[in-house]
Symmetry: C2
């Protein structure tokens, strides 16, 4: 069965956390909105506006598996994790992995809101002053708190495996790879100062980047480059003093 | 087994979504930080700072059930839903309920950030101008989008039951009760204009309020009144023109 992933075609965004899991799993999938043969954006909008869909998702990404449509990034990953062995099978471990992913979700929203503190519906240029204020707090308090938290989780993993949960890769590891990658792009100065304090997270990022399927994906055209339309945006004025 | 709920003692906050589920379930629980006999805030801080906890939560609320500690509001509800019959048993229905709760989570964060668009670490008084700008967008675009979404979910429920999922109460219904209650407190003018457009949601709110255990809870001292320290804050200047 080929999965259909629905997400905005021009950005990595939240869809990227799903793409990384699909790629690592070697799963068959179509990135519908980016694929004219699959219907492209028209197909995505048709599904979003389908009045007969009894279980509409609030927003992309969503994943179609046969007749089932699953929304919310963390829930899609919960589903894929079980299906493709990217999460522990044991219940408490599976829920702990999901809990970490929900914290990634919170972090991603905060990262987005650094450049959009007033309204998603406005351009960045219309909220630059507010964004500058928010970025100072983000760099000083929030980025270090979240990254420090995940570093602690790696430190305290009784398996000492370099993975967040147990002794094997989970979708949460893939998501943390993306977080480090994105923060390096968006806040290179702040991350350079931060990295010595989070050695385990940086090592995890490196080990994920070297996994054969992930390495191949990152080099492929399927990986959309970072840009100033997504979650991780590089605006030097939000990255602190040189 | 008595559950231990850990949450900030002075506010409803995110903990309230958990309290409503525990109350509706008639579950035995201690609200630790509010209960000196249970250790109060000292016990909560000790658990948060325990260096031997291999699975720390990023932030309250978290729920302790014997040796298991579960964090993230939506995940706590997923756990309680299964344990106390506040969610469907069938897998796809259980996941759909969880998906709705994750959208409630997103909504709650946006509601909070209306009064804290710059930084949680600053006072509201230090970000009033930004909050006023954000509140205009929130009232115009976001509140109606989220509430309209949940109204659509109620409309399209094939069971036509007045519940979000299937034909029985779930924790997601309890959370939507709290959303309506909170928005009425925080944005009475905006909600008065909105309510005629969301009749099913308003009916759901009414039916939850009348459930015997919820009604008893709302009248009890266990229900903390809304105040200007929580998620739902009444600042008239953020509620639009009279």
């Amino acid at each position: 069965m080929t999965y259909e992933l629905y997400y905005w075609p021009e950005i990595q965004g939240r869809g990227e956390f799903v793409r990384l899991a699909l790629e690592e799993a070697g799963a068959d999938y179509v990135d519908v909105a980016r694929d004219e043969a699959a219907g492209g954006m028209r197909a995505m909008m048709a599904l979003m506006n389908d009045p007969h869909n009894a279980r509409p998702s609030f927003a992309p990404p969503f994943l179609k598996d046969g007749d089932t449509i699953i929304g919310q990034t963390a829930e899609i990953l919960f589903f894929l994790g079980r299906r493709h062995d990217l999460a522990p099978r044991e219940e408490a471990d599976a829920m702990w992995t999901h809990q970490l992913q929900l914290t990634v979700t919170d972090f991603v929203l905060e990262i987005h809101d650094v450049h959009h503190p007033v309204a998603s519906s406005l351009y960045y240029e219309d909220q630059k002053d507010e964004a500058r204020r928010r970025s100072a707090d983000f760099r000083k308090n929030r980025m270090s708190k979240y990254l420090g938290y995940f570093e602690t989780v790696l430190e305290r993993n009784p398996q000492g495996s370099g993975h967040l949960v147990g002794d094997r890769l989970t979708y949460a590891d893939l998501s943390l790879f993306q977080i480090v990658e994105g923060l390096r792009y968006a806040f290179p100065r702040a991350m350079a100062a931060m990295e010595p304090k989070i050695p385990l997270l940086i090592a995890l990022h490196g080990s994920v980047a070297q996994r054969p399927r992930i390495a191949a994906y990152l080099k492929s055209e399927r990986r959309i480059p970072f840009n100033e339309h997504g979650i991780f945006r590089h605006y030097p004025e939000l990255d602190g003093e040189a």
